[in-house]
Symmetry: C2
């Protein structure tokens, strides 16, 4: 059994960040669960475009407020606590944050921890 | 892109419950994500023994208070908001809830939605 506390992991290299978001990886590939699990905080007033071509991701909003735009269709969905979105088609999207959002994120395949966002908004494949 | 709201899903057959817990399945096997994602609420004062012999499960505490006992070792871990546990060894465990807990749970392989807890605390394998 693995037990980890966000408030501790937050002070270690499990936290990755850029200037407008941070993500604490509570589970990574080497935990052997077959998915990774992250608590991600997006700063209010920021906007981010991601395109996980090599991963499925689900995101559940714990707190905060914003929206997600599906860039293939232009559809915008409001994000509030209790809303989940899942990128089942590796959907390219723009996340807009009104009030700081705390999100619970699952990735399959699991993130290894060494990925960086590339210019196209994706992570490289695990291989 | 799949978008679902806990507050809506809560009123549908995505919610399964017994008298002391309920679980709203926001993602199931047929969503094709390779994992399922559930928001589970455990009633304060209740105790549950589970043993997912055929699944890996991670659980992140959003709110509430309780503990988990690893029945193989007798070790008890406190559960507070921000604590995650992951049953990477299919660990048989007892969950004790002091104040109503809201938990974000991921299962691999994904739950299909038709499983019931068996007498031994497990779900049957997906096959």
């Amino acid at each position: 059994m693995i037990v980890r506390d966000f408030h501790e992991a937050n002070k270690t290299d499990r936290k990755v960040a850029n200037e407008r978001w941070e993500s604490v990886r509570l589970l990574l590939a080497d935990d052997g669960m077959g998915f990774s699990f992250h608590i991600t905080t997006i700063e209010g007033g920021s906007e981010h475009t991601f395109h996980y071509k090599n991963h499925f991701e689900s995101v559940y909003c714990i707190s905060g407020k914003g929206s997600i735009e599906d860039l293939a269709t232009g559809t915008v969905h409001q994000i509030r606590p209790g809303v989940m979105y899942a990128l089942d088609k590796h959907d390219k999207h723009t996340l807009r944050c009104e009030d700081t959002m705390v999100l619970a994120c699952c990735f399959n395949p699991p993130v290894t921890g060494t990925e960086v966002h590339r210019a196209d908004g994706s992570y490289a494949a695990a291989d």
